[in-house]
């Protein structure tokens, strides 16, 4: 089976496709064949400085051409990269030591890197032969949040990258007319996939800084946007507000934001709300949700050829989803696992995530339908077991309540293991109790008997970061909210009753 990574390090792509890099202060464009040549010259320089196969270099920089050049140069040499997201990591000697880095390269070196890539020499003597990676070799260290706050480090295998890229190409058929748009940090390995894809399959790719994302979409008119739910939720709000203010159709405002050439929008990394997915589909921009963890890479994906609303798509070739018949817990086994343990983690974290055979315990619950579509119901932690033995996953219920314009957030509890109580944070102050009551009735009408919300407690003041009821990522703090509203939750006289 062909290795995409081995192919792109071994030979230059045919000319004709480009990498564009967009920042707020300007953009630049380079043919992919020239990008390959420049990465080779940078690799020769790094090699001349003693950087060798198996070494590890850190890159702590905003999205830029230099980031891409360094990544490709490292691949060319067999050097492992560690991508650090600016703002989450600080450049320091301690970082070098902690992750065994030979060099740590930051934005400050951008000019020098560019100079070396443009003017350096790549002679046979200056570069060793291209590496021939085995599937279990690793090319990069990726980071994922850990239980202690310090990110866990996971080395990603070539086999997992290859199998994901092959599967994505089979599903989406990226081709010469495509321009894939990347604005999330290149420190996330999956964002670099689209550069590897461009080099192997022959299409354009545009990389922007986070701040220039919307400017870049207007300038370059991509065909595919690689986003996450938070990005699309923001875009939805913007489109709705602009359409309301201008009396123009949603479709027109959506095209104004994303451009006229969108073939599809990609979303993953976190659960997407049904309302958001439906919004974009209705606005003429097909959006495909998938499922995967850092530890599993892409497990399943909806795509134009196989798409089912509410699901996260069919399971990719080479991935095997195992559903526990008692708990509905989702585990994933891979023909080419990302890895079988963390490279950096607290004692016990690897064992909790990885079974002895490398199977990943995702912590999610779900099911697969008769046609092979995977549905994720929520986190195992979000599952409430009622005293009648019925399991209720609260996330979809909370999402249904949040569909009301009167409700900003909703957290569902089950105080007596019999009846569900929702604590909602209102969108407005004073809260619209009548609208909340109407929406409660509408939501309950769509739910099974055991899933129905018995009563709603309206939080006053609404959830906030300052009130310690929202995290810095604006997610409700479930246990804190329970503590604050315990009396109202348990008091049968208070609240809005169904």
């Amino acid at each position: 089976m062909e290795s995409v990574i081995n192919t792109i390090v071994a030979r230059p792509p045919a000319p004709g496709h480009r990498l564009r890099v967009v920042g707020l202060d300007g953009s630049e464009s380079i043919d992919l064949s020239e990008l390959h040549a420049q990465a080779g010259r940078l690799a020769a320089h790094l090699h001349s400085q003693g950087v060798e196969r198996g070494d590890r270099i850190g890159i702590l920089a905003a999205n830029s051409l230099e980031w891409v050049l360094l990544d490709l140069a490292a691949l060319r040499l067999g050097v492992v990269t560690a991508g650090f997201e600016p703002g989450k990591f600080e450049a320091s000697d301690e970082l070098l030591t902690r992750y065994d880095l030979k060099h740590l390269i930051t934005d400050r070196s951008a000019k020098e890197i560019r100079h070396l890539a443009e003017t350096g020499t790549e002679t046979p003597a200056a570069l060793p032969p291209p590496p021939c990676y085995e599937p279990t070799d690793t090319t990069t260290l990726k980071f994922t949040s850990g239980s202690t706050g310090r990110p866990k480090g996971l080395a990603a295998s070539v086999g997992s990258i290859d199998s994901s890229l092959r599967a994505v190409q089979e599903m989406f058929q990226h081709g010469p007319d495509d321009d894939l748009f990347v604005f999330l940090p290149l420190s996330l390995l999956q964002q670099r996939y689209w550069i590897y894809s461009a080099l192997r399959y022959g299409h354009d790719v545009t990389v922007s800084t986070y701040e220039a994302a919307f400017l870049a979409m207007r300038q370059t008119q991509p065909t595919v946007v690689m986003g996450v739910p938070g990005f699309y939720e923001s875009a939805k709000k913007h489109i709705e507000a602009r359409a309301a203010a201008s009396n123009r159709p949603l479709e027109q405002e959506a095209r104004k934001l994303f451009g006229d050439r969108i073939r599809y929008l990609w979303t993953g990394s976190a659960p997407a709300s049904a309302a958001m997915l439906r919004f974009f589909t209705t606005a003429g921009l097909p959006i495909y949700e998938g499922y995967g963890l850092n530890e599993t890479c892409i497990v399943s994906k909806n795509h134009p050829g196989a798409h089912r609303e509410g699901s996260v798509g069919r399971v990719l070739p080479g991935k095997h989803v195992l559903i526990d018949p008692d708990t509905n817990a989702v585990s994933v086994r891979s023909d080419f696992p990302v890895n079988t343990r963390y490279a950096y983690a607290q004692p016990g974290e690897s064992e909790r995530m990885f079974a002895p055979d490398g199977t990943v315990r995702t912590g999610d619950v779900g099911h697969i339908d008769d046609d092979g579509f995977l549905y994720i119901h929520g986190r195992a932690d979000d599952t409430i077991v009622l005293d009648n033995g019925k399991k209720v996953v609260v996330r979809p219920i909370e999402e249904a309540m949040k569909a009301s314009p009167a409700i900003a957030e909703c957290v569902v509890f089950c105080p007596g293991q019999t009846k569900l109580v929702a604590v909602v944070s209102p969108s407005h102050e004073p809260p619209d109790h009548e609208a909340i009551a109407v929406h409660l009735a509408q939501t309950n009408a769509t739910l099974e008997r055991d899933e129905r919300i018995h009563k709603v407690v309206v939080a006053s003041p609404p959830f906030s970061i300052e009130g310690d009821t929202l995290t810095s990522q604006f997610k409700p703090k479930r246990s804190r909210i329970l503590d604050l509203h315990r009396a109202e939750i348990h008091d049968s006289d208070r609240g809005i009753h169904a």
Binding site: L24, G26, T209, Y210, E211, A212, L215, K237, S425, P462
Partner: protein, 111 residues
């Protein structure tokens, strides 16, 4: 009677208020927005919403977003910052850097 610069400033502030309000949860009217409250900490504006908000304000006021750098965006922490930086006479990071570079050109060591 307000002068031209003041009129422009007020237009930018009005556009900023109008574009920020719909992005916030809980909702708040444009008039009730406090010019000095922190967009992220007080109003819960996510970084992506901030970028979208700035894109919309620039579009409505005819200011090129490309006039700013990523550093300028980071500096816009309140509505007052946004209004000030979008004003025609604002000093962006680029102009500030040019001035600083000119000042420091002779003393900066080569890397």
């Amino acid at each position: 009677m307000p002068d031209h610069a003041e009129v422009e400033h007020l237009k930018i502030e009005e556009a900023a208020r109008r574009n920020l309000a719909p992005l916030l949860d809980p909702q708040i009217t444009p008039e009730a927005l406090d010019l000095d409250r922190d967009l992220a900490g007080d109003y819960g504006l996510t970084s992506l919403n901030k970028v979208l908000f700035l894109t919309a304000v620039c579009e409505d006021t005819g200011v090129a977003l490309s006039r700013f750098t990523e550093r300028d965006v980071a500096r816009m922490r309140t509505l007052r910052d946004v209004t000030a930086l979008l004003s025609p006479d604002a000093e962006t990071a680029e102009t500030a850097e040019t001035a600083e570079t000119a000042d420091a050109a002779e003393s900066e060591p080569a890397r």
